[in-house]
Each structure stands twice: as C-alpha cells, then as structure tokens.
C-alpha cells in the first residue's frame, strides 16, 4: 500500500438555505479556490477528481454533470462520481492513488437539502415495493431506532440530550456550524417531541453545504503540508436493507469497517457522522470509544448536516486535528442510508 494523506480541506458555511442552484456550483467554486490556493496548486496538478452527491436531493437526473462546471474541466479530466456521501468518493480516490496511476486527487461532496422536503425525500431510499409506498420518513425510521434502544435499556432520553448539549457547545467554536448554543439537558428535555421519542435537538438540522478534500501520496504530501494526515486505514461496509431484519440498536457494519481500518487503538479524536443523538451512543458503545476519546469536537451533524458532504466533512475535521498538531491519531466516520445502514471509517495519523 502507498502512503496517502489528507493534505487539504475546505467547507462552505453550513446554512439552512443557500440562494444558489441545486447544481452545487455556487458552493463549490469558492471552496475549490480556497483549498487549491492554500496548497499552492492549480487544477492541472490534480490527477483524479471524484465527487459524491444525490440526484434526488437536487430534484433532477445527472446533477453531478452541472457540478463539474465548478471545476471547468477543459482540457478534460480523469473523473468519477458516486451516488453517496463524498466520503465514499474519497475511498474511490484513495483506491485510484493506490493503483499508482495518479499521485493527487480532489474529492468533493455537495447537497442542497433546502430544495425539497428532506425527511420525505429520504423515505425513497427504502424498499420501493413494500416499504417506501408507506412513506415512513427519515425521522420516523430514526424514531423507531431510538425507541428500540430506550425500551431495551441501551440508552435514555437524558443521555440523548447530553449528546445534543455537548454538540451545541462544541459548535460555538465552529464558524461553519448552523446550530450552536449552550442549553442544558433539563431545558432540552422540557421541549416537545417531533417524532416520539425524538425531540428537535435529537435530530440534525436541514442544511445546505459542500466540502472538499485533497489527497496526496508519499513525497507529494510532504511537499504540500508540514504535517500530512496519513490514512492508516479506510474501509466501509453495509447492513441489510430490511429494517425488521436488523437489530437497529447496533451497527455491525461500523464495527466491521473499523476493524478493517485498523481499529481504535491510540485514537484521540473521533469525528462521528451521527445525524441523530442516539446514533452517537450506538457508535460509542459498539466501537468501545471510552472517556479518553474526544468525540466530534466540530459539533458534528447535529450542528449542521449538509447531505452528501457531511461524511467528507468528518474526515476533513479529523484530518485538521492532525494538521494542527492537536492530535496524533484520529478516526472519522461517515454514514449513509436509513438508520446507519452503510458506514465508512477512516483512521489517520500524524508522523513527527
């Protein structure tokens, strides 16, 4: 395996609604400029481009076609796209660098959730023959998951609120966060349910946003940044599509991905992509992340959840902890699909 590192990261502000189109171009152009100029690169220096986005979010077919206009790919580029979070595009780019064909890659994800009704749109990820016609929306599915955990004694509404309080407090120092503020647990628990047992603070907000990461191999990474975030392991896995066939209080695919990515030994910071409070509790327990591991210091998806960019942001935030010298070993997690169906884990380290 070649040594490959995250060397650059940029993200748009996470906002309730942008004025731009669903093409993502207006969000992507500034952050491409930011990440490339920060590294002293131009588009001609990039060997491979890969993006993650969703036509359903954009409300049209082939939304990624317009997004490549943000690159201005003339002359033509070596490029690919996944219909998934940008984190999976990063996996494809990491693989491309591993083949030895290229030494650098630029990965991006974008989503304008405000263009539609997100919770209803996400219902169309379910089995189209037997489940989607009933339109259980994303809050309903997550609510079932939360309820199962509460009834089995795996977690409580108070523990869920504690996750929200920490997230909002951390978000106060994240200039890109959409939701921040230091309400206490009792105050949050006094709020009404939005999808029993979920309250507003248990659910990620609806967010428009985009993110970009630059990967580089070996010497190229050393040339570009002082302290590259070397990827020591990256893996992903998926669970069954049948909600009734899964134990929704666990996340087996996250455990598999973490094992394949090298495990959590020495991890100081874990950026977890958990759009619902109880999902963080599932991951912390399943991965065995103890009190010594700082969880999602960016505030995470609960503070801002740009769909299809959010997982890539977790990798960027975890890499930044290494770039800045705050941590030597970090873990990033991304998720996709209903109730944590598909999960990716990326472990990075700094080398002195």
């Amino acid at each position: 395996m070649r040594d490959v590192a995250v060397v650059g990261f940029a993200q748009s502000p996470q906002v309730r609604e942008t004025t731009g189109t669903t093409n993502g171009v207006e969000m992507l152009v500034p952050i491409f400029a930011e990440v490339l100029s920060g590294l002293g690169l131009t588009k001609g220096d990039i060997g491979f481009w890969c993006s993650g986005s969703s036509d359903y979010l954009a409300g049209r077919a082939f939304s990624f076609i317009s997004a490549i206009d943000a690159i201005g790919p003339v002359p033509p580029i070596n490029e690919s796209h996944v219909e998934a979070d940008g984190a999976w595009a990063l996996f494809e780019a990491w693989v491309k660098i591993q083949t030895g064909e290229v030494d650098t890659a630029l990965v991006y994800g974008f989503g304008k959730s405000s263009a539609g009704n997100l919770r209803r749109t996400l219902a169309l990820q379910l089995d189209p023959y037997v489940l989607a016609p009933l339109y259980p929306d994303s809050l309903a599915v997550a609510g079932l998951q939360a309820r199962l955990g509460i009834e089995s004694g795996a977690w409580s509404e108070r523990e869920m609120a504690e996750v929200a309080v920490r997230s909002r407090r951390d978000a106060e120092t994240n200039p890109n966060a959409q939701v921040a503020g230091s309400k206490d647990v009792d105050e949050l628990l006094a709020q009404p349910y939005v999808a029993n047992p979920l309250r507003r603070h248990d659910c990620a907000p609806v967010t428009d946003g985009a993110s970009v990461i630059v990967l580089a191999a070996e010497e190229r990474a050393h040339e570009l940044v002082e302290r590259p975030a070397w990827i020591t392991g990256i893996a992903h896995a998926i669970d069954s599509a049948h909600l009734g066939a899964r134990d929704l209080t666990t996340s087996p695919s996250t455990v598999i991905a973490t094992q394949r990515a090298g495990g959590i030994d020495g991890v100081e910071v874990a950026e977890l992509y958990t759009p619902f409070t109880h999902q963080e509790l599932i991951l912390r327990r399943d991965l065995g992340l103890g009190a010594d591991v700082r969880i999602t210091p960016s505030g995470g998806a609960l503070a801002g959840n740009p769909m299809f960019a959010g997982g890539l942001i977790r990798i960027g935030e975890a890499a930044r902890q290494i770039h800045s010298g705050n941590a030597s070993r970090t873990l990033a997690h991304a998720t996709g699909g209903p109730a944590l169906q598909q999960n990716l884990v990326c472990v990075m380290e700094g080398r002195d």
Partner: protein, 386 residues
C-alpha cells in the same frame, strides 16, 4: 511507488434483455446476471470481497440510491458496497472502478454489476427536467444527438446510407446473441431506410430499444485468475470527462474521448489500434455513432470512419468486428449497457461468445460514453497476461 497488481475478468453474466421483465423485481433482475457471472467465474459468495454497483440516474426507477435497498440481493451485507454513477457511461465506469479495487491490492475478488429496469421507469421524463442555466433536452437523447450526427455527415462527406449499414449489421449480430433484446436476423439496409424518420437523419431502426436488463462481472487478482480457465486480463482502463458545453467544444469528436483512447492505448502498449485490436464493443445507441467513435477512438483518421463501416470491415469476419453482440442497438438497459460492452469484450477474448464469437480474438476493446458525449470509460482486455 507500489506497482499495480494484475487484474482479470474471471466470469461474466447477463439477463435476457426484454422490453418488460414483469416476472422479476429490480433485485431479481440483477440477481439473474450476478448468479450467471458467479457461475461463469466458478466463485461463491465467500469469495467476493466487495461489490460495486452501477446505475444510471435514480430518477429512472424512482428509487433514491437503490444500491441501499439492493444490499441483500447483491450479496453485500457485511461487505463494502460502492455505488458508481457517471451517466450513460456508468456501466463502463463501474467496471473500471471494480478493476481499480483489485489493481490497488485492496481486494482479491470484486463483483461488479449494473442494471436498468426501463419498464419501471420513465427515462424520457427523467431526462427532460429543466436544469438551471442549461438548454433543455426535451426531445430525449435522439433529439439531442441528431445535430451531432448531421454535423458528422457534413464534415466527413459520408454517404447517407452508412447509418443504415450499421443498424442492419448490429441487428443481425443481435440475432446471434441469445440474450439480445431485439432478434432481427433478416434486417437489411433497405428495411432500415424504409423505417420512420424520427430525428433527421436518425430513423426508427437506427435507434436503440428501451430494455430491462442487468450485467455482472467478477474481477480477480492474479492469484484468483490462476484458478480460472482462460480469464480476460485487463490490459488498460481509462476514464475522462469534460463539460456539456464550452466555447469551441467539438461534440462530434469530443476531446475527452480522444485523450481517454490515447491514454488507454498508451497503457495497453498499443500503437496501431486498428491492427492490434481483434474486436470492439463500443457504445452505439444511434447507428451513426459507429463511424463517429471509430475516429474518436483512433481506429480511423478523422473523416474516414465511415469507410471502414461501408466496406463491411466492421462485420464479424471483417478487419475490426464492431459490436458482434448486437450492441446497444440490440439491447439497451441504460445503466447496464456500458458494462455489457465491457463484458462482451471480455467474453470475446475468453472464447465464450458463442455464435457471435470472433474467431481467434485475443485483444478486445470495451467502450461506454454518457451525458452529452462528455463522459468516457473504456478498457482493453486480452487473452494474454499484460
């Protein structure tokens, strides 16, 4: 600098492509192709390390990220499942991504699959949703591409019956392929020319059908290939993209296709593509794209592609048989069409193409394109180790 691992196609599978496969669900359709590919590769589920799934736009069938609901049917539970989407080239891109997973040394064996169930979809509608700052494609793909074809005819001076020659050949080839949607063994140039004009100069019989269908391939590393009888070695892969529109863009002979083909030949060590390639499965949804892509792919000089077609040299038995399977003109399950080209190229060098086998084929090209002739994916496979 790590070296790239060798990778090979161990087996291929496809469905009987039809207008409406109402006997199966989307999952059942895919599984037919997968089961055939795994049997052909002589592998079981435990042998598969990861699954890559390709599909054209989600709007076609109205399911958001259908890979998620198909996780069980494609045998991916507990494994990595990667969903590729690069427009009409997606079937080819899926093959390229699956190959790279093996070439990178990440996995030993990868299952790649692609599908489209047009009977459960409305591609014409999905392609006609207005897009900010873009010219609408209200007439569907044919209306979009017809001006490019007219431009090709004007530039090359090709006789106007060349399109009909391609269509008649591909339909007759399709009749040799038991999986092909259209079975028209008695198709002739005259019949094609007598069919209804749809988008001048493209007549009804010069257009691809709407098909339900799926395709799958199993790709393995050198060790896995050693256990396989006659695998198709992957000699080269390439993908390139360019914008739909920009000042000075040549839509007839797009730059992205030309540089992808050049990169492909370079990687495969091919200097004279026409002489060194024994068969090619190229993405020809409208007849005229055969001569156009013959030039774009570097088989013929610019303006000369039609001469190879007119001389009958793209027939099975000719200098460069193009689409011996019948191609997209005989079966078009959109998301799978590119992978079918890749799989059929592999079948040729594996000697498993049955009645449409090109005698002695040892090196073959698989090609796919998508969007407004702007996304290209291709591979070269060979009977010999690269």
């Amino acid at each position: 600098m790590a070296g790239k691992e060798r990778a090979a196609v161990l087996g291929t599978g496809q469905t009987h492509h039809k207008a409406k496969r109402q006997d199966v669900s989307m999952a059942g359709l895919l599984r037919e192709a997968i089961d055939r590919a795994m049997a052909d590769a002589q592998v079981g589920w435990d042998d598969i390390d990861a699954v890559v799934l390709g599909k054209a736009p989600d709007f076609f069938e109205g399911v958001m990220m259908p890979d998620l609901f198909l996780a069980d049917a494609v045998g991916a539970v507990g494994k990595p499942l990667l969903r590729v989407h690069t427009a009409g080239s997606v079937g080819g891109s899926t093959g390229v991504v699956a190959a790279s997973l093996v070439q990178a040394g990440v996995y030993d064996r990868v299952l790649a699959c692609a599908w489209e169930k047009q009977s459960e979809s409305n591609a014409m509608w999905a392609l006609s949703i207005p897009i900010p700052f873009n010219m609408p494609v209200n007439a569907g793909a044919g209306g979009y591409f017809a001006p490019h074809v007219r431009s090709y005819i004007r530039r090359s001076g090709a006789p106007t019956h060349v399109g009909a020659i391609v269509a008649a050949k591909d339909r007759r080839n399709g009749a040799k392929n038991p999986y092909a949607h259209l079975q028209q063994a008695d198709m002739t140039v005259d019949k094609v020319q007598a069919s209804q004009m749809l988008w001048d100069p493209i007549r009804y019989d010069e257009t691809c059908p709407s098909s339900d269908g799926a395709c799958a391939v199993v790709i393995g590393n050198e060790k896995a290939a050693a256990a396989t009888d006659r695998p198709a070695w992957i000699h080269a892969t390439a993908m390139r993209s360019e914008p739909t529109t920009y000042a000075g863009r040549d839509q007839v002979n797009p730059q992205a296709g030309r540089i992808a083909a050049a990169a492909l030949s370079n990687q495969a060590g091919i200097t004279t593509p026409l002489e060194e390639t024994d068969a090619a499965e190229i993405y020809v949804p409208f007849s005229w794209f055969e001569p156009m892509w013959l030039e774009n792919l570097g088989f013929m000089p610019e303006g000369q592609g039609w001469k190879l077609t007119e001389a009958g040299e793209t027939e099975i038995g000719g200098q460069l048989p193009i689409n011996p399977s019948g191609g997209v003109l005989s079966s078009n399950p959109i998301g799978a069409s590119g992978m079918l080209r890749f799989a059929e190229a592999a079948m040729q060098v594996m000697g498993r193409a049955g009645e449409h086998q090109v005698d002695g084929a040892r090196k073959a090209l698989g090609h796919a394109y998508g969007g407004g002739s702007q996304f290209f994916a291709m591979w070269v496979v060979g009977a010999d180790k690269p």
